[in-house]
């Protein structure tokens, strides 16, 4: 056996911690002189880390957080550690730092942790433009003063993960208005999401893979916890996810208004609409309508009438749409009396 195929196999085995000791030693020696394999290892490790999510995701016991706190010297009973407050705890190489942990395993090589390639470790420092006392950046305009009303961006959204009662709605406020903008890399999409968590806003600016994340955020805020809803919600979610993973897919989010928001997901000529926080309509008397803004001088194009049954989240499979609609610069939602799509929207509630 010659060439790099053999090392490719070793790299994969190493990333999975599955090599025999002799193979492991051979690869480590090789890694010191092979930048290509070192890069490959980093990539395979990232991939292997995805496998971790095959495990059922569990909530760690509270005691674990406490023992880690104690391990770093922030013992129970102390005030919670505040940024920059007090003296730093001792470096963790004292006898207390390991808490009650057993000694390092046999063969543990402190000088070369096996999850790191052995080259260049000591010279490398974490270089990060955000390094320093910087807190994670907020949007320049800051959160609105009423950010604690339970909407996205407030701490209470944590409980939303477990199903926010749909009767709890943020108080009305004037929305930012303006059409939703397309989340393109480098686009100034952050301002659009002024009440979204800063993380989400930044992700929106980060391009295609971020779109998946943003939809995840929407769901994270609003997903229903009712078991009966979960089956169909899962199917809808998976369909959207499939769509998002297609090349060239895009998502256009309408700015949040009065606690409601919506995202159009489109790949090729197939469109889905994901709404969050829209009140359920009366399917006998009225309807929501999705509109496409196809140009400044043109009237809005009616795309589809749809019902919202679940205020928390609703996925509307719009289906095939025309190229004009698929490539519209923004979208809007109106609430209409009657059950048909009128020539023009009468009551625009999102976007537009």
């Amino acid at each position: 056996v010659s060439g790099h195929d053999e090392f490719d196999e070793l790299v994969v085995g190493y990333a999975l911690d599955a090599l025999e000791p002799d193979d492991e030693q051979r690869l480590r020696t090789h890694l010191r002189g092979c930048a290509a394999c070192t890069r490959a290892l980093a990539e395979v490790r990232g991939l292997a880390a995805e496998l971790a999510y095959d495990a059922p995701q569990l909530r760690p016991p509270d005691a674990l957080r406490q023992s880690i706190r104690e391990g770093i010297g922030a013992a129970a009973g102390d005030p919670p550690p505040l940024l920059g407050a007090g003296t730093p705890p001792p470096r963790g190489d004292g006898p207390d730092a390991r808490g009650s942990l057993p000694p390092p395993p046999q063969g543990w090589d402190e000088a070369a942790p096996p999850w790191l390639p052995p080259t260049g470790r000591d010279e490398k420092q974490v270089r990060d433009p955000e390094q320093g006392p910087a807190r994670p950046a907020r949007e320049p305009e800051g959160a609105p003063a009423d950010a604690d009303d339970g909407g996205p961006g407030s701490p209470r959204r944590r409980s939303g993960l477990r199903g926010r009662p749909s009767s709890v709605r943020p108080p009305s406020r004037p929305g930012p208005g303006g059409p939703g903008r397309v989340a393109t890399p480098g686009g100034h999409s952050a301002h659009r999401a002024r009440r979204m968590r800063p993380t989400a806003a930044r992700l929106l600016a980060a391009g295609a893979s971020a779109i998946v994340l943003v939809v995840g955020v929407v769901w994270g805020v609003t997903a229903s916890n009712r078991a009966s809803d979960r089956g169909s919600a899962l199917a809808e979610r998976n369909a959207v996810l499939q769509l998002l993973t297609r090349p060239g897919s895009r998502a256009v989010t309408m700015p949040e208004r009065n606690g409601a928001s919506a995202t159009v997901v489109v790949a090729g000529d197939t469109m889905y609409l994901v709404t969050a926080g829209l009140d359920a309509n009366n399917a006998a008397k009225d309807t929501y309508v999705l509109w496409a803004d196809t140009g400044s001088s043109k009237p809005l194009v009616g795309v589809d009438a749809f019902d919202v049954r679940d205020t928390n989240m609703s996925v509307v499979p719009v289906g095939k749409v025309s190229t004009t609609v698929a490539s519209a610069r923004s979208y809007a939602i109106s609430h209409e009396q009657g059950r048909s799509v009128p020539a023009r929207p009468r009551s625009v509630i999102l976007g537009g």
Binding site: D17, A48, A52, I72, P81, T199, A206, W219
Partner: protein, 213 residues
């Protein structure tokens, strides 16, 4: 026990799956500067996935907690060892967890012997409280499962026996009555296929450092 809710930690409530690499790097830099709140914020993000991984490998809550504690104390001690140029913190911390958990399962050989290999491939929910309804995590899990589903059975089995079973290539050859060379080839082919199917890793930060808004 309550979460520490400093304003800084609050920025990333329970956002394990959604963490961006840039935020992770900033948190690691603060850990290097001995900021305990930053370590706690990293724990908020990765405590769940690391614990879940260790629990799956070890099949034991106490040992899993030991591993995760060891991992986060190692991050605290040696945060400067994290090199963002070699991949995200997520990959780093899960690799470390995997390594320590596999070490532990090999130390506790009798523990593993009591578990049939088939159990490593099992998908039972455990008795711990599940956070699967935190939709992001289940989304991520669905995606991975769907990708694994597209692998040939033999490749999937090989990867899962190694990753969750903690078996070496030679042990897998014995368990599956397959030549060692074939096991190595399957492992490589399986990871290549997984890469193709998964495409861009979720949570990757496509922005080069310093190009933020």
């Amino acid at each position: 026990m309550q979460d520490v809710r400093t304003p800084t930690v609050e920025q990333a409530p329970s956002s394990r799956g959604r963490s961006t690499a840039a935020e992770d790097r900033a948190l690691v830099a603060r850990v290097v500067a001995r900021d305990p709140a930053a370590l706690e914020a990293l724990y908020d993000r990765y405590g769940g996935p690391t614990y879940s991984l260790a629990r799956r490998i070890l099949g034991d809550t106490t040992l899993a907690q030991d591993v995760v504690q060891e991992v986060f104390l190692a991050v605290w001690r040696d945060a400067e060892r994290f090199d963002a140029e070699r991949g995200g913190f997520s990959s780093y911390v899960l690799s470390m967890t995997h390594h320590k958990a596999v070490d532990a399962v090999r130390r506790e050989e009798n523990l593993r012997r009591r578990r049939a290999p088939a159990e490593m491939l099992d998908v039972r929910e455990s008795d711990d409280r599940s956070v699967d309804d935190e939709v992001w995590l289940s989304l991520r899990r669905d995606r991975l499962r769907s990708a694994l589903g597209q692998l040939p059975e033999a490749q999937r089995e090989t990867l899962l026996l190694a990753y969750f079973g903690g078996y070496t290539q030679r042990e897998i050859a014995g368990l599956t009555s397959t030549p060692l060379g074939t096991v190595k080839t399957r492992m490589l082919a399986g990871m290549r296929k997984l890469k193709d199917v998964l495409g861009e890793p979720l949570g990757a930060d496509p922005l080069p450092p310093g190009s933020g808004p």
